[in-house]
C-alpha cells in the first residue's frame, strides 16, 4: 500500500481515470444478453395493457363499445376517457405547457392516437381484446400541412377554442400554438435592406423519429398494503417522472418509487410522459396488481415523440467579399396534435436561437411559429440538444447557399466568418454566451486531414469526365462546422415543469477504499458507469474499477433532471467532480491528522496526500478511507461521503468540423460515402474510446436522417413509414467507415473542463451528409433540395437539372 516504487504517472494510469480508454463496464452484461430492461421485469400476477388506437388522423369518436372485449376470458378491464375523467386523468399536462389527451376525449387528432386501454391476463389476450373493442368514428377534414393549418377553418383543438393566449404568449389562429421571437427584428431587416448580397432559401428539416432499439414501456405496481407505487419504465428523467406522477395522480411523492432499469437507447424519445404510463398506473391502482405496457415498433414510430419537422425560411446578408452582416430566420414548426415538445419551459423552440452557429454574425433575428396539425405530438431532441440540430442544419445550409450566391468556396466563406479564438467568451446576437472555442484551428486541421484542395481538384476533374460522358458518378464534398449548446442548464433560465435543471451526485467511500456513487442522471447506452467512475478516480485517487455507479432508482439516487441534451457530463459530471472534491477536502484533514501536520502542510499527489517537501511521508486515499471509519479524529465526523447538487453557471458549447466525401450515381440516385472525417472538440476528454463510440453512433443516426429516414404522411394523415421496412435504420452494411479526430478547448466554467459529446455527431453529421449531396450537384445549378436524400429524391435532382439526357 505504501508503495513508493511507482512513478506518479504509473499510479495515475492504475486509476484508469480521466483520459483513459477504459473498457465499458456495462458491456459485460450487455454483450452476454444479461441486461435488465423493462420488458425483462416480471412480477407475480402481472397484467398486460394494450391500446386500441385510432386508424384516422382526425375524427370524432362517436362511441366505444367494450362489451365484446370484456366478454373475452382473461380480459380484466377496458379503460376509456370516460373512465379516467372522474380521476381527472383523461388529459395530462405536456412538458411544453400544453395538455394532451391520455385517451381520446371525444375526438382523435392523429393516426395511432390512444382511444382505449385494454387490461388482460396476458399480452396475447390483450391483443385479441383490442380487436374486439368497437369504436365508431366520424371522419373530420385532415390537416397535415402546417401552412394550410394556419389558414384553415378546421379547428383541431376544440378544447382551446376561444383561448387567444397560450403558454408562450398570444395565439394568432385557432391552429396556432405560439410565436417565439429572439434578436433584433428591425436592425436585422435594416441590414438585409442595405446588404451587398442577400441569399434567401427555405430549408426544410423533415419529420423523423428517434426510434430507439428498445421501444417505450413501463411496469406499474401498486402495493395496496403499503400504499407504495413502484413504476419501472424507460425513463430518461426518472426523478421528474416521479414528481409528475405525484402531481397528476395525487399519490404522495414519498409513496412513489420510479426505477429506470437498463434502457436500450433513448435519443429524446423517452423524455416525455406517455398515455401508456398513465393508464398502467391507473390500472395498477384499480386492480392492485402490477400492469405492464410495452409498445411495439409500429406504435413507437406512429405515436411516441417524433423529432424535427421545421420549415426554416432564411435570409443571410453579406458584403461582396463574404463577411456575413446579418441573419434572419422564420420557422414554421409542425408540432402535431398537441404541443408535447420536451424543451426547458421558457424555450418553446428549444435552443433554436443557436442558429447563428459558429459565425460572428453581428445582427440576427429569429421567429418561430408553432402550429397544430393532424400528426403525432413530440418535437423532441433526437440525439441533439433542444432544436440544435435544426439550427445547425439551417445555418450550415444557409452558408452553402450564400457561398453559391457569392461564387465562393464554402470552406473559405466559413473561415472568414468564424468567431475568433480571442473573442471568447462570445456574446451571440441571439442571446447566448459561448464559453470557449478555437474554430480556426479545428477547421484548418480538418481541411488538411482530408486534403481539401486535392479533393476539390479531383472533383473538378470528375466534372470534366462526367461532361465528356466517361462517368455517370458525381463527387460531393460536404462541409460542416457546427457549434452545439448543451448542458441545460442554469436554473435561472432552464426548468422543466418548474423543476430547475441542476443535477446531482452522491459519493460514499467504503472503509476499505472502494466507493459507490449515485447520480440524478440515467444512462441509456452512454456508459455513465464507466466514465463517471473515471472522473471520481482522477479526483480522489481511487481506482475506477473500485467504484460502483448507480442511477435510475429514485429511492436511492439524489434528485436530478435526467439524461438528454448532452447534459449528463456538463451537469452531473460537474456535480460528480464537486462531490469528489468535498471528499478530498475532508480526506486532506484526515491525512494531516494522521501525518501529524497542519492541514496546509499536505499536498495532493495522484492517489495520496503527502507532506510538503517530504514525499516519503504520505497517506494514500485507501488509508485515509479506513481511518475515516476507525479513528476518532478531533473536530471531524466519522465517515467519508459527500453530495453535490450542481447548478451550472452557463451552458457548454462543444464544436466540431465534419467533412463527408460522397459518390453519387446520377442514374439511380444511389450514394456511397467514400470518406467521413469527424473532428470533435468536447473540451476535456474523459474516455476517448467512449467518445469515439458516441461519434460513430451519432454520425450513423445522422446518415440515416439525411439519407432516407423520415416519418411521412399521406394527405389523409396515414403514416407511410410506420415499419422498419420503410423507416430507414442503417445496419452495419449501410454504415460507412469514420475517421475521428479532436482538438481540446476546455470549458472554462466546468470543474473538469468537459463539454459533452453524445449529440455533436448528429448535429454536425446531418448537414455534412446533406451538403455533400448538394455539393455534388452545385456545378450543375442546384441550390437547395430537401432531405431526406433517398434514391428517388437524388434522382429527381439529377432529372430536374437535365442530367438524364
Amino acid at each position: 500500500m505504501n508503495d513508493q516504487t511507482m512513478t506518479p504517472e504509473e499510479r495515475a494510469a492504475n486509476l484508469k481515470g480521466m483520459g483513459s480508454s477504459r473498457k465499458r463496464v456495462e458491456d459485460v452484461r450487455f454483450t452476454q444478453g444479461k441486461g435488465n430492461y423493462v420488458d425483462d421485469i416480471k412480477l407475480d400476477g402481472m397484467l398486460f395493457g394494450d391500446f386500441v388506437r385510432s386508424p384516422y388522423a382526425h375524427a370524432r369518436v362517436v362511441s366505444v363499445n367494450k362489451e365484446a372485449a370484456l366478454a373475452l376470458p382473461g380480459v380484466i378491464a377496458v379503460l376509456t376517457a370516460e373512465d379516467l375523467s372522474p380521476l381527472g386523468l383523461h388529459w395530462m399536462p405536456t412538458l411544453a405547457g400544453d395538455k394532451q389527451m391520455v385517451l381520446a376525449d371525444g375526438k382523435v387528432l392523429f393516426q395511432g392516437q390512444e382511444v382505449a386501454y385494454v387490461v388482460a391476463e396476458d399480452r396475447y389476450i390483450a391483443a385479441d381484446a383490442v380487436e374486439l373493442v368497437e369504436v365508431e368514428y366520424e371522419e373530420l377534414p385532415v390537416l397535415t400541412d402546417p401552412f394550410e393549418a394556419l389558414k384553415s377553418d378546421v379547428v383541431l383543438r376544440e378544447d382551446l377554442e376561444g383561448q387567444t393566449e397560450g403558454a408562450h404568449g398570444p395565439r394568432k389562429h385557432h391552429n396556432h400554438i405560439f410565436t417565439w421571437e429572439q434578436g433584433d427584428k428591425d436592425a436585422t431587416e435594416a441590414v438585409l435592406a442595405e446588404a451587398d448580397v442577400v441569399a434567401e432559401e427555405m430549408v426544410y428539416y423533415h419529420r423523423t423519429h428517434p426510434c430507439p432499439l428498445e421501444t417505450c414501456g413501463c411496469v406499474a405496481s401498486m402495493d395496496k398494503v403499503t400504499g407504495k407505487l413502484t413504476l419501472y419504465g424507460t425513463f430518461q428523467a426518472p426523478h421528474a417522472i416521479r414528481t409528475v406522477v405525484s402531481l397528476i395522480s395525487g399519490v404522495a411523492e414519498h409513496n412513489i418509487r420510479v426505477i429506470s432499469p437498463d434502457i436500450g437507447g433513448g435519443f429524446g424519445n423517452k423524455v416525455g410522459a406517455y398515455a401508456g404510463y398513465v393508464c398502467s398506473v391507473v390500472a395498477s391502482i384499480v386492480t392492485g396488481k402490477p400492469v405492464k405496457w410495452v409498445e411495439d415498433r409500429m406504435e413507437n414510430l406512429m405515436s411516441t415523440a417524433f423529432a424535427r419537422d421545421y420549415w426554416m425560411q432564411g435570409k443571410i446578408a453579406a458584403t461582396k467579399d463574404g463577411k456575413i452582416t446579418g441573419l434572419w430566420c422564420h420557422t414554421t414548426a409542425d408540432h402535431g396534435g398537441f404541443d408535447a415538445c420536451a424543451d426547458p419551459t421558457k424555450f418553446p423552440a428549444g435552443f433554436m436561437n443557436i442558429c447563428t452557429g459558429s459565425y460572428d454574425i453581428p445582427t440576427a433575428y429569429l421567429a418561430v411559429d408553432g402550429v397544430y396539425t393532424n400528426k403525432a405530438p413530440g418535437g423532441v431532441a433526437y440525439r441533439c440538444s433542444f432544436r440544435v440540430t435544426e439550427a445547425a442544419y439551417f445555418i450550415e445550409r444557409m452558408i452553402e447557399v450564400l457561398a453559391i450566391k457569392l461564387n465562393m468556396d464554402a470552406a473559405e466563406l466559413r473561415r472568414i466568418n468564424f468567431i475568433k479564438a480571442d473573442q471568447f467568451p462570445y456574446q451571440s446576437a441571439l442571446g447566448w454566451e459561448y464559453d470557449s472555442g478555437d474554430y480556426h484551428t479545428a477547421w484548418d486541421k480538418a481541411l488538411k486531414a482530408v486534403d481539401y484542395d486535392g479533393l476539390r481538384a479531383e472533383q473538378a476533374q470528375r466534372i470534366e469526365e462526367f461532361k465528356a460522358g466517361k462517368t455517370r458518378k458525381l463527387l460531393g464534398i460536404g462541409l460542416t462546422h457546427f457549434t452545439e449548446i448543451v448542458g441545460a442548464g442554469p436554473v435561472k433560465n432552464c426548468d422543466i415543469l418548474g423543476l430547475g435543471m441542476f443535477d446531482s451526485c452522491e459519493i460514499r467511500i467504503h472503509p476499505t477504499g472502494s466507493a459507490i456513487a449515485r447520480l440524478g442522471t440515467i444512462s441509456q447506452g452512454q456508459g455513465h458507469a464507466t466514465t463517471f467512475a473515471q472522473i471520481i478516480a482522477s479526483e480522489i485517487g481511487l481506482p475506477a474499477d473500485d467504484i460502483t455507479l448507480e442511477e435510475g432508482d429514485t429511492d436511492t439516487a439524489p434528485y436530478g433532471l435526467g439524461t438528454y441534451g448532452s447534459r449528463s457530463t456538463p451537469v452531473a459530471g460537474a456535480a460528480t467532480a464537486m462531490a469528489a472534491r468535498k471528499i478530498r477536502a475532508k480526506a486532506q484533514m484526515i491525512a494531516a491528522y494522521l501525518l501529524e501536520v497542519h492541514d496546509d502542510d499536505v499536498e495532493w499527489d495522484v492517489d495520496r496526500f503527502a507532506v510538503k517537501g517530504a514525499p516519503e511521508r504520505f497517506k494514500t486515499m485507501k488509508e485515509i478511507a479506513f481511518a475515516a471509519y476507525n479513528q476518532a479524529i478531533p473536530g471531524l465526523e466519522p465517515g467519508l461521503e459527500a453530495v453535490s447538487y450542481y447548478d451550472p453557471p452557463n451552458m457548454t458549447y462543444p464544436f466540431g468540423a465534419y467533412i463527408c466525401v460522397m459518390e453519387i450515381d446520377v442514374d439511380t440516385g444511389e450514394w456511397e460515402v467514400r470518406q467521413f472525417y469527424a473532428l470533435d472538440d468536447c473540451g476535456t476528454r474523459i474516455n476517448p474510446m467512449i467518445i469515439e463510440g458516441q461519434v460513430h453512433g451519432g454520425v450513423t443516426e445522422a446518415l440515416a436522417i439525411a439519407m432516407g429516414q423520415e416519418i411521412a404522411y399521406d394527405e389523409m394523415g396515414n403514416v407511410k413509414t410506420g415499419t422498419l421496412m420503410d423507416f430507414f435504420l442503417p445496419t452495419a452494411w449501410e454504415t460507412p467507415n469514420y475517421t475521428t479526430d479532436h482538438t481540446v478547448t476546455p470549458s472554462p466554467h466546468h470543474p473538469i473542463g468537459a463539454k459533452g459529446v453524445g449529440e455533436s455527431p448528429n448535429v454536425g453529421g446531418v448537414p455534412a451528409f446533406s451538403n455533400a449531396v448538394h455539393d455534388a450537384f452545385r456545378p450543375f445549378g442546384l441550390v437547395q433540395s430537401h432531405m431526406p436524400h433517398d434514391h428517388w429524391r437524388i434522382w429527381k435532382i439529377a432529372n430536374g437539372l437535365g442530367l438524364h439526357g
Partner: protein
Amino acid sequence: MIPAGFEYHRPGDIASAIGILQEHGDEARVLAGGHSLIPMMKLRMAEMGHLVDLQAIEELKGIEVGADTVSLGAMVTQHELITHDGLASAIPLIREAALQIADPQVRYVGTVGGNVANGDPGNDMPGLMQCLNATFDLSGPDGNRSVAARDFYEAAYFTAREDEEILTRIHIPVPGAAVGQAYEKQKRKIGDYATAAAAVMVGNGTASVAMTNLADTPVWSEGASAALASGDVEGCVAAMLDAIDPVADNRGPVEFKKHVAAVMLRRAIDRAQSRAG
C-alpha cells in the same frame, strides 16, 4: 405485432401435410421459412386457424445438380443456395441473386420454395425462376403436376397453386457455360425489396430477361428476350419497359421506377454479355 391464436401442425411427410390442408380448407396455410407469412400474421393481415409447418418433411429438402437439370427442394434455404458449390458452378445466377436477398439471418431460414410460392411481387426468386425457365412441382389431393414458372404467377399473391397443393420441388435447366448470367438489383438498404431488379441470361444465340417488383407479378418478356437474343439491347429494354407496370410507393414514383428499371436491365445485360462464352 401479436398474432391471433392458431393450431400448429408439423407433419413428417407431404401426404400428411396435404391431408391437413384438405381437412381445414382455407383455414390452413403452409409455413416454410415464415419470413413473409409470420410478419403478416403479427400484423393480423393474415389470420388462419391452422399453420402447417413443413420443416420436418425430408422430401422437401436437398439440392441435386445433374448434367442438364438442377433440382431444388422447396425447403432449401437461401443460405444453402449460396453455399452449395456444385450449384454455383452449374447456375451462378442463383447464388448471385440469393446474396442480394435480405440479410444473412433471414437467409438462414428463408426458403426458395416459400419465396417462389408466396406470389409476393417483391420477392426475387420468382423473376429469377422465370428467367431460368424453371418448372415447379406441385403435390395435391389429386396427385402431382408441374407448372412452368412463366405460367405460375397470376396477380399479387395469386398463383396457379391450388389451396390444397404444396409446391415441392423446382427444376431448372442448366443453361450451359457459354450463357452469361447476371442479377442486378437496386434497393434502399439491406433487407429491402427491389426498387427494380433484373435477371438476364444471354449467349449461344439465346437470351432470357425477367424483372422483379415492377408489376403485380414478376415480368418475363418474350419480346425483350428475343430482341436481346438477336443482339438488340435497346429493343430489349424498350420491350421490357412496355411490359412492366410499376406503381408509386415509398421507393419513388412511377417515372423514377421506369428509369431505374432500364438502368438495372442495361447493367445486367452488360455484365451477362461480358460473362458469355
